[in-house]
Amino acid sequence: MARYIASRLLLAVPTVLAVLTLVFFVVRVIPGDPATAALGDYASQEAVEALRERMGLNDPLYVQYFRFLSDLVRGDLGKSMITGKEISELVRQVLPYTLELTITSIFIGAILGVPIGIYTARHVNTSIDYAGRVGSLAGLSVPAFYLGILIMLLFAYKIQLFPAVGGGDLKDLRSNLSHLVLPALTLGLIMTASVTRLTRSAMLNVLKDDYVRTARAKGLSEQVVVFRHALRAALVPIVSIIGIWAASLVADSVLTETVFARPGLGKMLVSAILQRDYTLLQSVMVIYALFVVGINLVTDIIYSFVDPRITH
């Protein structure tokens, strides 16, 4: 097992390096000049040139690239080109919002999706099954930002149960939770749809297997058959889809954070693009990339526990 984890960790290193390089050059391919974007069209050309020099944008690209890599290796994300603040400090302030949103959404998606998937698989072709299938199809079809606006309209405007916008105060649990519910519900419902579909189809396959029939023939209770025998075998694809969704939730959070005006990495990414803040943009993209690599790593490790054959 240790060797398996070590090999996965080693494989992550070239992946991360490739991502870093790609991020650096992609950021610089984005059209527009950070100095012009920062100073606006009323600024004098002299001031724009002075700012470009201060931002280090007049240095050759390879100098900027190696500066970026060497800073990262030392764990220094640098300073925002626009606000001048330490990026690590900016990220530290918004990361909790993105993490709580992602984790809660995964929790909602898993806690609703798996049982609904199992239930509909066990009651295949009944009205409940049809309702589950239609619901999950709808959930997969609706974009996160649109669902977010609908949920906001219902729960914040019509019923006025939760605040419509903002992230709340992290030090105030009630304020924080009340601001978390609607965006988490938005992402959670979308993930529920996917998990439900996959769990249902995985369970349908497994429930037809001989060993499940044998378990039933042995007189085991239905609960034991489903949870101890069938679900365990169906877990590998379910864990896989939850891992994939965890990674894509990070991307979806870009839209959800913008719609709900929540602070977070997603909103930070959007503002860095709009302001052409190269240093902030590449740092946020690197964090996203590391996030995805990390989630894949964790998923691989969970696989090995669910199905030890994978380590071989």
């Binding site: 059209p31 527009g32 000049d33 012009t36 920062a38 100073l39 606006g40 069209d41 009323y42 600024a43 004098s44 050309q45 002299e46 001031a47 724009v48 002075a50 201060r54 300073k79 626009i82 606000t83 001048g84 900016l90 302030q93 918004v94 809660t104 909602i108 806690i111 609703l112 049982p115 609904i116 066990r122 606006i149 309209l153 914040a156 405007y157 006025q160 605040p163 419509a164 916008v165 903002g166 992230g167 105030d172 009630r174 939770l177 009340s178 978390l180 519910v181 489903v226 949870f227 913008t258 719609v259 709900f260 005006a261 929540r262 602070p263 909103k267 930070m268 503002s271 709009l274 302001q275």
Partner: protein, 553 residues
């Protein structure tokens, strides 16, 4: 199985219930601790917090001399003062701010001298790095010198030929190499761009980078906190020289999505928002109970500039043909028309600035170029283009640019001119048009006076790429340099205005550019929000929150 499902749903419900509970009250404003004794005896009340959402994604800088984005300008407006200020809500009138009065200029050895007497007892905001201290002429001189330095200011060009010195702690002397009229001088020392006065000790304590997110001025509100991508919180300045603000705090929130701002306002999470520059939106929001929409200047002017140095636009008949093919009403319709968008007949908007030409004046001169397709076609044929021609332009992706370009495309197609539009992001468009790639440029801008408009768009020094100081003269025009320069030094305001008008008449006669429309500012608020002043025109492009702004909930 059912039990498991039930357990899951119960867990979720518990989470939701916990979140539904009323949030704990916010901490009182720091200023509340120093409230008068009578107030302390009264029952504790909720701090009065104004929550405003702007369409920006995040803070840029709180250094007023680099504040270019509207959201940054708004914050500077609340935290800083200048020697003089535009009257709150009315950008056409100057009044003293840090200065005791508006001075009259003197001429000494051929140079113009303006002497400002400062108010006494104006306090710089206390910060973690510097305690509150009295603002003196040393801060004013240092701050204006900072504005004149391109390394520390985006507006350095405005301060060429200006010397600032302190005569004593409360007297500042500004000497100009070239005399100019008050209408051109006061904007340089007013609460806009480089005129804001920064507290020197704090700036030196935190440095240029630190000041961007930790500013200190003398304004009605002081910086409290910045949450990235979320908000900036300002608190009342108890020691403000015009009296303590009625608001305890201002929460300035960053919400680029219009739907989110709108829902935030309707649901009561926000008190006021930056709205949509469309008349339909204004009408719809005005129908919401308890919500009012304010539409006010200053309006950014959209103008079409023709590059007179390239074929076929070097022929005045072609430019006039284009003008006769265009209809301002069609442009206006794209923005829903008045009150948000209104027609403009000269590059300097007559409604907001002296020196602009009114509709009546332009019509009387026969320079309104009322739509006449036959005349347009005849002019094109006379110029040797009976079948029209093709032009390629780049446009910003922003609606304020793309709409005029696409409308122009449709209108010009009727006289055989094929306008091919490539859409690029806004910042790229600015870069490309300054490289002279567009034969026709649509430019949307506000400038603080007629001189700045005319100098930056029509003086030969400002010609893009090849000018002595390349700027935004996209038309490559050189015909009104003498008028611009003469008007700049003219001391008689009436004569000065006449010269500006004359210059713009020349622009219209030669059809150097075609002014289309101006777009007003749109802000929506709950009826309980009282800005404390009437909104006519605001250079800071928001309703202006000051010591008089209050909430009557």
């Amino acid at each position: 199985m059912k039990r498991f499902l039930l357990l899951s749903i119960t867990a979720l419900l518990l989470l939701v219930l916990a979140a539904c509970a009323a949030p704990a009250p916010s901490a009182p404003a720091p200023g509340a601790e120093e409230a008068p004794a009578a107030a302390e005896e009264a029952a504790p009340s909720e701090p009065m917090v104004l929550r405003y959402a702007d369409k920006a994604a995040d803070l840029g800088t709180m250094d007023p001399h680099f504040a270019a984005a509207t959201n940054d300008r708004n914050l500077a407006d609340m935290m800083f003062n200048a020697l003089v200020r535009y009257k709150p809500g009315d950008g056409s009138t100057f009044e003293p701010d840090l200065a005791v009065s508006l001075p009259e200029p003197e001429v000494v050895d051929g140079k113009q001298v303006w002497t400002f007497e400062l108010r006494k007892g104006v306090m710089c905001h206390p910060t973690a790095d510097t305690p509150a201290y009295e603002l003196t002429s040393d801060d004013v001189v240092w701050s204006l010198q900072k504005s004149a330095n391109p390394d520390t200011s985006a507006y350095a060009g405005e301060y060429n030929g200006m010397t600032v010195e302190a005569l004593d702690d409360y007297t500042v002397k500004i000497t100009l190499d070239q005399p100019i009229s008050p209408i051109l001088f006061f904007p340089k020392v007013a609460d806009y761009a480089g005129g804001f006065i920064v507290c020197r000790k704090h700036y030196e304590a935190v440095g240029a980078e630190g000041f961007k997110t930790s500013p200190a001025g003398t304004g009605p509100f002081m910086f409290e906190s910045y949450s990235p991508q979320d908000k900036v919180v300002l608190v009342a300045n108890d020691a403000y020289f015009r009296g303590r603000p009625k608001l305890d705090k201002v929460e300035y929130r960053y919400m680029p999505e219009l739907n989110s701002r709108e829902l935030g306002l309707k649901s009561g999470d926000l008190d006021a928002i930056n709205g949509q520059n469309e008349s339909d939106w204004v009408a719809r929001m005005d129908q919401e109970e308890g919500i009012s929409v304010d539409v006010y200047g200053v309006g950014e002017v959209a103008t079409i500039h023709f590059n007179t140095s390239v074929k076929p636009l070097d022929d005045v008949r072609v430019r006039k043909a284009i003008a006769y093919a265009l209809d301002r009403d069609e442009f206006l319709a794209l923005f829903g028309g008045p009150p948000v968008a209104e027609k403009v007949y000269s590059v300097v908007p007559a409604k907001f600035l002296p020196g602009g030409l009114t509709k009546e004046e332009v019509e009387a001169l026969g320079l309104d170029y009322a739509r006449d397709l036959e005349k347009a076609k005849a002019l094109l044929a006379e110029a040797g283009y009976p079948d029209g021609f093709s032009l390629e332009v780049v446009s910003s992706e922003r609606e304020s640019y793309l709409k005029p370009y696409t409308s122009m495309q449709a209108q010009l197609a009727q006289i055989g001119i094929d306008l091919k539009i490539t859409t690029v992001d806004h910042s790229s468009m600015h870069k490309l048009i300054r490289q002279d790639v567009n034969p026709i440029v649509v430019y949307v801008a506000w400038r603080p006076n007629a001189d700045v408009y005319l100098t930056r768009f029509y003086h030969s020094d400002s010609i893009v790429v090849t000018g002595a100081k390349p700027d935004t003269n996209f038309s490559h025009y050189t015909g009104i340099d003498d008028l611009i320069e003469a008007a700049r030094v003219e001391q008689d305001p009436d004569k000065q205005v006449e010269m500006w008008k004359e210059a713009q008449i020349k622009l219209l006669e030669e059809m150097i550019s075609y002014p289309i429309l101006y777009m007003n500012q749109v802000t929506a608020r709950h009826d309980y929000v009282d800005y404390g002043h009437e909104l006519k025109s605001v250079l800071a492009l928001y309703p202006q929150f000051d010591e008089t702004t209050t909430l009557s909930k």
